[in-house]
Symmetry: C2
Subunit: 247 residues, 2 copies
């Protein structure tokens, strides 16, 4: 543990024009991108970033994410994201986030759940024993993250409502559809009228399997009032599941 490093790191952002939607609000995919970048930098500074892990043939895998907010940053506004590790278990670690607007008011929180796997073996790594247990050095359960943990998502729709084909812009350096693009495709299910009248308040995603360039992905939706559960499948295989709550 480096005593000069705080358990919480804070990064400042500005809501750029091309990161703003038709309402002039930060898009959820850009917010998700920022959260994951903050996670990456926090981990790297503390010795457990992707580059270091890759040397040991290990890699982080994002399993679940929940983002909940009362408002989103507006175009040209600055905002800050805190990130810290809430807990480390044998197979998973919980990393949380707080989002503050430019007045310093906390406007949202996020929770993420990560596993670590062997790059070659694809098997889970014991987080408590790796690096002589140093992963737990920065655990900070004292900082509150007052939103529900990501829960179970179950979609019962039998017929897909939409589909899309994974293209160049979807694919990351590992050859997979990147985790942020699923958020974008799910948000694209909604009309501007719906989004204008029903502000999004919570978004959850659970990643199950990877998908690849050229894959045709089917989208199944269960809607109940302002809650929508979405499943993205490739044939019979679930790629990811999402749950959206609009007010």
């Amino acid at each position: 543990m480096n005593p000069l490093l705080h358990k919480v790191s804070t990064t400042r952002f500005v809501c750029e024009p091309f990161h703003s939607d038709f309402m002039g609000q930060l898009t959820l995919n850009v917010l998700g991108n920022h959260l994951l970048n903050c996670a990456g930098e926090h981990a790297t500074e503390r010795g457990f970033g992707m580059a270091r892990l890759n040397e040991e043939d290990h890699t982080w895998v994002l399993s679940r994410m929940a983002i909940e907010f009362e408002e989103l940053p507006k175009q040209y506004e600055s905002f800050e994201i805190d990130t810290w590790v809430e807990s480390v278990y044998r197979l998973f670690t919980d990393r949380n986030f707080a989002i503050r607007n430019q007045e310093g008011h906390t406007i949202g929180y996020a929770r993420t759940v990560w596993a670590m796997i062997g790059v070659q073996s694809r098997k889970p790594i014991d987080l408590l024993s790796m690096h002589e247990g140093h992963l737990s050095d920065y655990v900070y359960p004292e900082k509150p993250c007052p939103i529900e943990k990501p829960g179970r998502i179950k979609v019962s729709a039998q017929m897909p409502s939409e589909h899309f084909t994974a293209r160049y812009s979807d694919i990351d350096i590992n050859g997979h559809v990147n985790s942020i693009r699923y958020i974008e495709h799910v948000m694209d299910l909604f009309s501007l009228d719906y989004l204008r009248e029903h502000p999004l308040r919570r978004f959850e995603i659970a990643y199950v399997t990877e998908s690849y360039f050229g894959d045709t992905l089917d989208i199944y939706i269960d809607s109940k009032s302002n809650e929508h559960q979405v499943e993205i499948k490739k044939g019979n295989a679930t790629i990811c599941r999402c749950k959206l709550f609009f007010s």
Copy 2:
């Protein structure tokens, strides 16, 4: 003119993981986004940014862009973008860019052509007479931008090859498909195999008309060896035209 402000401004970036493509290179749409942000900040600092213009009921309109490069920044690498104004004419102004990799080597250039219009009238504003001619204060034709100006693009294909529908993620605060998303849709025409074997070297785009949420846009393509000309149309109306040169 503020004597403390240089004619050229320089901004530093890092190629983030979610801004990298399957080859670990900065995507062209993110590069375009960065160029336009640099333009916005350079203009704002010198008193002719969007916010100031909007107060006077004027707005900048991007007419053309050409980006040419020998390589693109790689994931996690830093890079810098210079921007400056090459010339101001009555109806158009030319703004150029240079892109340097983290070793300080110039890896690419870009040229943009802008007009200014009245927000209400949609009519062009005389750039030489507005703000008492101060727009010309920062003109810096001495700095070289050794790439060809954006030229004429003419697509003769009679049948569309692809189409897409403008969705939530395409739309900006003005209710239009944002100028960067067209770049993304055009890049998505190509397979990973093609892009791997034929590195993109030049991309040009000419914006003609706006498109809106729900519009179905047809894509027409003329290909000749490694040069592709692309036209995006809504019915008979041209929305934009692109030209791509791969090596």
